[in-house]
Amino acid sequence: MSEHIIPTRTYYLIWISLMCLTVITAAVAFVDLGQFNTIVALSIATLKALLVVLFFMHLKYTNEKMSKVAVISALFWLVLLLALSLTDYGWRGAGAV
């Protein structure tokens, strides 16, 4: 269970890229991309989440089985939330009880 030491520089770099991505998100919001509005915003958000999980939460450097279990179950639960919600949003027009 050796702890990987990450240079502080990496943390600053990640932090700066997170800030840049935030600015980009805000900037893109002023451009009308039609259908792609949501897609672009969510893609940037996913990228940011990935950076946080990989570096700030040390997932990139761990070999702990339990960390993987934790990440996979968190993602699985998110999929549950989205997939089951889609049974409503996908068929909203098809009548209600």
Partner: protein, 544 residues
Amino acid sequence: MSSVAITPEREHYLNKEYGISSWLLTTDHKRIALLYLVSITFFFFIGGFFALLIRLELLTPAGDLVQADTYNKLFTMHGQTMIFFFLIPSIPAVLGNFLVPMMIGAKDLAFPRINLLSWYLYIIAGIIYLHCILTGGVDVGWTFYTPLSSGFSNTKVIEAGVAVFINGFSSILTGLNFVVTIHRMRAPGMTWSRLPLFIWSHYATSIIMLLGTPVLAITLLLVVFERAFGLGIFDPTRGGDPLLFQHLFWFYSHPAVYIMILPSMGVISEVVPCFSRKRIFGYHFVALASIAIAVIGFLVWAHHMFVAGMSLYAALIFSLLSYLVAVPSAIKVFNWTATMYKGSISFSTPMLYAFGFIGLFTMGGLTGLFLAALGIDVHVTDTYFVIAHFHYIMVGGAVMGYLAGMHFWWPKISGRIYPEGWGRLAALIVFIGFNLTFFPQFVLGYVGMPRRYWQYSQEFQVLNVLSTAGSTVLAVGYLLPMVYFLWSMRYGKLADDNPWNATGLEWRTASPPPTYNFDETPVVTWEAYDYENMPLPQEVTLER
């Protein structure tokens, strides 16, 4: 017999240090459990006070005690106080905190300071919520439904939302602590299949706390943002979807029912074998049923939304999945019953509460199946049938389990025996009061009395009077244990290490336990619930 100590007193977690700061800065899981005990009892009485006002208003058909606006606040604050500040923390934060390390043979939880932090978060949330109550209150229902909460209500929604948000983190931290502790801190020989079922159910509860609570937190934050800054998440005039709130809210709040009931099931799984003097029937099934409930519990949330206007397809799927979640609960009920079969049963107070739990929880669960059926749900949605159903689960189930556990482990917690005769009497009063309060509400709902109204038509009065009468009986039943528990702390008989001759590790150390629980780390070489090899407890004597 006098309780004056003749021999010099043994050092234990209660007398090791004295003074306010020894409590407020403690990292001992047992002391933190007692901090929680005091605080949740305080909120229980606030929530109970609101409940009595509700029942008083409903004594007569006319809206005479309070106005409609006040009534809306009463049921909102009754629900929020009881759910977020009493039921969610009740068994996990008090009995779980006290027992999880002891049952697995550990000195403390994995993160003692985070444990204390979680109590402080609870207290901060509680103070904010009290402030909200005292400065006007909140009236949106415990569910915070949009667009009422985000746009139309002119009460303290933001304050209430922030309080519940902060309280959520208290619950997340408790869950995190339990998961890590159960994985990492088990004593030598304490394998997964030797864990007491109380531990299994707390493990399952922790999973729900960890994976569900963040969703509630972010959802309430979105409501606060929409209300404060006009964000268009749920407001249809800004391109939002009000049903999205209900999806997100119930994604946490249905599983939250299992946060309340799973720990109670854990208590029952300890009490039933002990007072039947038998090994639990189907250990692995009961253990895995807890995990199954934790997982399947997340797949059923939209059964709260059948008439809200979601798609028919979703309604069909969620109705089906809701039937499925009843299976693991039923497995547990059958296994407890099978455990009692041919056991040598004694009717001590914890066992009386366990009987109450099994019967009332089964009624609550079965009426849940009625509600999962689309046709019946349309008929009884937002009626007193629903109120009765979830009170059978949360009060008949969760609170009965909590009281069973408090009585069962009171000798360990306090080192004293509570008066058994009073205990049995209180259990009986609670059972009668509970049924008198809530059974009439099944009937009321079925014949059409809607929930959340401060006045009603004449023909509902008889049943409402019965229900109000029952609530006063129930109140007596809840006050009694508080009185005799406090009494027993000074005057109760001294408890020996294992007054019930139970098998758990927590009974193999002194009562009350030393600060680090065990003088030596225990080594476990036996299976859980080995009652075949345990002597019977001394005959429990009724006092006077």
